[in-house]
């Protein structure tokens, strides 16, 4: 029986009913990976360790829902003794001596890490075109980008190689590729999942999350990914609910906000049509719609492009060729070592963001840019606080359109930055948000974004699961068959 496109729930029941052994499942997964190498979704595979763990699982009784479930890990998470590149030449031979907390959490729950997925370099990009290891293909069409930065994870799930993958989301890096690849992706509340062992890009925005075929699978993964972690000072010490518990509850009478300032008239008609259909669908499920004003939201992208580069320039100063990672050949002196290591190790987009960050943090400009962006960030957060007094969730398209062709955004970085127009606000405010497939434009999938209030992932998952119980967009596959 083929395991391609199977959800976690399907695979768990196949394993528990002994229709397939743990080892067979992992072997099948690697057969799929090897048959789809042209996607370039993986940077490093973990075959021997994965088979060893599966063999061990076959020899004992397992009750965990996630026991033996193959999972692809974004190459931004440190994995003990397994190469972790973050999509960069800088870390092309970096073997971490420890695993990220979230990786340990998933592996302790029984998940088997089958490999590390391709990504935009240091998570800076929205198309996976900035990876040192080459572009990733979107399984929905030749030369289409999978989105980014978690492009390899999205491609691996979308092509049915694995039922689940980890991603990280600093400005949309889980939701945007989920939208472009037709899968479900959740960015939890900032602080829900430990950042320890995640290679930092912008520390006040970065958040890990699950990518899977269904909202239900995301809930199963989230249950294991969340933990309070003393090693991350911003890790939340809040009750972690069972995210699968209320997922089946109806949403009748609940309120969805539509953001007035998200100007949909700028979007392609077909994209708007798909969005309007989803509104009608939620109406048929009993939800009520309210127009909401978030007056400062139009400043989200400019705010982000001050805050994120500022934090990036600080975080990436650790890559100096001394303690780990790449070092240039034959440095003349210490300064030459720093400059050549960084110039050879980083790609163009990463350099651009470091330079912007150094500029906005420099003495003469700090107040005009960095401080001001942080003040606007508070205004944006205040707008959301106000909105959630009136609605349960906010709804918008995840992206401005479906997947585009590699190279089609030209050389103007701002065109790419605007890809994340709808996703960035949730990161600035630290709010949970997810993307679910809600239709097709030109035979390419597109996603619907739901943003929730602080710590209300369970509500988002309930909205998403209700949608998926009554639609089949998430069941369509790039190879044509419905699952």
């Amino acid at each position: 029986m083929s395991i391609q496109y199977k959800s976690i729930k399907n695979l768990t029941s196949m394993l528990q009913n002994k229709e397939i052994s743990y080892k067979e499942l992992i072997n099948e997964t690697f057969t799929l990976i090897e048959s789809k190498m042209d996607l370039n979704a993986f940077i490093t595979l973990n075959k021997d360790m994965a088979i060893e763990k599966a063999t061990l699982l076959d020899s004992k009784k397992n009750d965990s829902l996630l026991a033996g479930i193959p999972i692809a890990q974004k190459d931004l998470f440190c994995t003990k003794d397994l190469r972790t590149t973050c999509g960069s030449n800088m870390l092309s031979s970096f073997i971490p001596p420890y695993s990220a907390t979230v990786i340990s959490n998933l592996e302790n729950a029984g998940c088997i890490s089958v490999g590390k997925t391709n990504m935009d370099e240091f998570a800076m990009g929205s198309s996976n075109e900035t990876s040192f290891y080459g572009n990733v293909e979107n399984p929905w069409g030749k030369n289409l980008v999978p989105g980014g930065s978690s492009g390899g994870s999205a491609s691996a799930v979308s092509s049915g190689i694995v039922p689940a993958a980890t991603g990280t989301d600093t400005g949309g890096s889980i939701r945007q590729p989920a939208s472009l690849c037709g899968i479900t992706g959740l960015k939890p509340t900032y602080g829900r999942i430990s950042r320890w062992g995640m290679i930092a890009f912008a520390s006040s925005l970065d958040q890990a999350g699950p990518m899977a075929r269904t909202a239900e699978d995301c809930a199963i993964l989230l249950n294991e990914m969340c933990s309070h972690d003393n090693k991350d000072t911003t890790s939340l010490n809040e009750h972690i609910p069972d995210f699968t518990k209320d997922i089946d509850q109806p949403i009748k009478g609940m309120k969805i906000g539509i953001v007035k300032e998200f100007d949909l008239s700028q979007l392609d008609n077909e994209v708007v049509k798909v969005f309007e259909e989803s509104k009608k669908h939620y109406e048929s499920l009993g939800a009520e719609f309210i127009e909401i004003s978030l007056p400062n939201i139009s400043l989200s992208v400019p705010t982000y492009y001050v805050v994120a580069p500022a934090e990036c320039s600080s975080n990436l100063s650790r890559f100096d060729g001394v303690k780990f990672g790449k070092r240039c050949d034959d440095p003349k002196n210490l300064e030459d070592l720093y400059i050549r290591t960084r110039s050879e190790g980083f790609g163009d987009e990463v350099k651009r963001r470091i330079l912007i960050g150094s500029y906005v943090l420099s003495a003469g400009f700090y107040d005009a840019y960095y401080k001001k962006a942080q003040q606007v960030r508070r205004l944006i957060k205040n707008d959301f606080d106000e909105a959630f007094l009136k609605v349960d969730v906010l709804m918008s398209p995840t992206t401005r359109g479906p997947a585009f062709e590699a190279g089609s955004k030209g050389s103007d970085p701002i065109q790419m930055y605007l890809e994340d127009l709808f996703t960035i606000p949730a990161n600035l405010a630290g709010l949970p948000a997810l993307s679910i497939p809600n239709g097709f434009v030109d035979n390419k999938p597109i996603g619907l974004q739901l943003i929730g209030n602080f710590l209300e992932e369970n509500k988002l998952l309930k909205f998403a699961h209700n949608f998926q119980k009554t639609t089949d967009f998430h069941l369509k596959t790039p190879s044509g068959e419905n699952i």
Partner: protein
């Protein structure tokens, strides 16, 4: 933003710009800065900066050793090291 400013911030960032590509980099950075200049439209009088969405004080923990000494592992994985130190080019003549 001009070439001189870009050269200065590149040096502060310890990054060498590709020769021949400096004009393109300067133009890109200038466009990005122009783009973020939209922030000037916001009235932020009296607004406290938001540095982190949680607005909680960093949590501290007791200062006690929890990790084992893994000096050898870390030194082994460094680009250049001896049995005790990370090695860099000579700094003091």
């Amino acid at each position: 933003m001009d070439k001189k400013t870009v050269t200065t911030i590149a040096y502060l960032s310890r990054i060498a710009l590709d020769e021949g590509n400096e004009d393109k980099i300067t133009a890109d950075l200038e466009n990005i800065i122009k783009f973020v200049d939209q922030l000037d439209n916001a009235n932020v009088d009296g607004i406290e900066p938001l540095t982190n969405p949680l607005e909680k004080k960093a949590q501290t923990r007791e200062d006690k050793v929890t990790a084992e000494n893994r000096k050898d592992t870390f030194l082994d994985r460094a680009p250049k090291s001896n049995e005790d130190y990370f090695l860099v080019p000579r700094v003091v003549e």
